[in-house]
Subunit: 207 residues, 4 copies
């Protein structure tokens, strides 16, 4: 309990929160450049929406405990990759790869990890690409690398994920298994819609 | 050209634009009450997002010309129902009817027109409910009724409509016919997904 | 303690908070109309900025206790006039009266109370006009009157009030008396600046 | 005219505007860190508000013409220092120097120019510090330095500058001279208020 309070205090420290916010501001500004660049090259909008969030001290504690780590500030900052997170929703499923590729081309960011849940969907049916990016945050003459998790998903997958979150909410363990299987099946249906819309777009582009 | 300029000036008049903005602010504040009420009764979020826009003088001109009316301020205000517009996106397709029903229960608004493009989809495949609502806007001791168009659609239909807009953009007349048929077919596919997600939610609710 | 928790729950109820928010949205939309109207008539901007806040359950409790009332929801809603508050900052000190006069001309609002701290500054030196306004908030076929406190002050007085808040912060009782006297003296200085800027503006207008 | 159109097109190019926006986003995120740092060290809020703007193609043209330069994209980008601008308003006049000093300590920004209009007020009476800062903007493996003008002023000087702008608006040349002299005199009055509030704050801090 004391550990939690101390962690809370340190995580709520304005310099710590603002350093994470600095990193997400910087990536979002870069994503606007990437979107403008891709929009010009593809002659259509690529990014539909973007949002960011910084985890509360409370959920940081829960995640540390769940992962079996001591609840300390140092562990939070070094073990957790998703204290700062950005979600990018694009129109079509091939846009996901275009955006991920551009992020990997940025010479001042370091790609720490990449998970392709589009090629290998999660058990739940969830599809998206997750990048853990290291961003240099300078203050005075010191530069620290802050990590940010970027989730890139298509509009169709965003639809599935949001409805999934609505439906799995407050179901108990016995029921949840059954529901989850059904929702997973629907993720296939929606992934098919996603792909057919992509094919249609390609046919239109070739006209 | 002169008519257009005069109309532009009158439409850009702050009191005119702000009266329309007043009406949309009022409806959006009411929709937040409706959402809170429905969320409590249904024990889940109903409205996913809301946005509003006021037509530019330029598109008002175009629409008047297209409809065969003289380009005057009086015609704009009395003939066009969608100078001020609000779009409401909800999670499931049955939420559309809940929201529309609540709007019709508000005793200080007048429902001028209702179009159910869910029961009778447009030629293009487009599905949503459109309400034209008359809202009393008081200034000093005078009250005018301002009209606002409210479009209510499901998340799935919002997906279809946005991708449709992206794909039909800049196609010429010959091609567009062919493309439109395909997109219409996809609207059926997505409407099916919409309905199956609804059925799944109902089954979960009954567990 | 239990009373506080119950009050907290009731005040945090979305329908209650959103009803207050509805009232402030409505007044702010009206103030934008008033500003546009006054701006046109005076040929210069009148309102510099506007903001609103709804009191937290915690400060509602404190205020009820301080005023000697039992901590109940009914008392909160019926006794406190400033659960919802709007602050309007205008450029010159005569603008305060123009805005207050227009608010009093709105036939659908009820002016419950008016305090003129410009003519009769508070002990602290604070100058502004406070209006308690009753706004009809309709939901379905029911209309309740919600009360909103509107504070109208000049840019110069906003400067004084903000610096006052910064300086009186965390001083103890013995010191505060001495400081308060000094700050009050400065409020006179700033009020003089406010009036001289007004005279200058009038001279310019007559040129 | 053709030059203007071409410049307009190039300045409105999303990659150009977004590069300037990137630079202002980055500086504003840094200023939030600076504010948090100074707030902690001074135990009071330092920055009252912050805003940014990017000059329109139209005002860039005007400024190039006024400065006697050909209206070209290259001239705009290389000659003008204030295409992107940030305004920082702080509470007291000594805060201006604290913020400027911190900006100059940031090792990844280059201070291109510094003008101290507090020590040497402009003819008009205007007081503030202007820094032209060079910010590295990286895209892929290329880094360009974008210039941003940062204006730092006190709340009191912000008051004077805004009222000055309101009053000098639309006066003709003959009258303006007379008015300007008066307004300049008022800038002295307000500078004195600014300094006396600072002295008062210092006395309170020493209690």
């Amino acid at each position: 309990m004391q550990a939690e309070n101390l962690l809370g205090e340190q995580m709520e420290n304005p310099m710590v929160r603002l350093s994470y916010a600095y990193a997400t501001d910087l990536i979002q500004a870069r994503l606007r450049l990437i979107n403008a660049d891709l929009t010009e090259r593809n002659r259509r909008q690529i990014v539909r929406s973007m949002s960011s969030r910084i985890k509360s001290a409370e959920s940081i504690c829960k995640k540390l405990v769940k992962k079996g780590h001591a609840v300390t500030f140092e562990n939070a900052v070094s073990v957790l990759n998703d204290i700062a997170g950005i979600r990018v929703v694009c129109y079509f499923c091939d846009d996901i790869y275009q955006i991920a590729a551009e992020l990997q081309r940025q010479s001042d960011f370091r790609i720490i990890k990449k998970k392709d849940y589009v090629k290998n969907p999660k058990q739940s049916g969830y599809q998206s690409i997750h990048l853990i990016v290291g961003v240099p945050v300078t203050y005075r003459d010191q530069t620290k690398e802050m990590r940010v998790e970027i989730q890139i998903r298509s509009f169709a997958m965003d639809y599935w994920a949001e409805l999934d979150a609505q439906m799995c909410y407050k179901k108990d363990a016995g029921q949840i298994l059954h529901v989850e299987r059904e929702i997973r099946d629907y993720s296939d249906v929606i992934a098919k819609v996603d792909n057919r819309m992509l094919e249609l777009r390609k046919r239109i582009e070739e006209m």
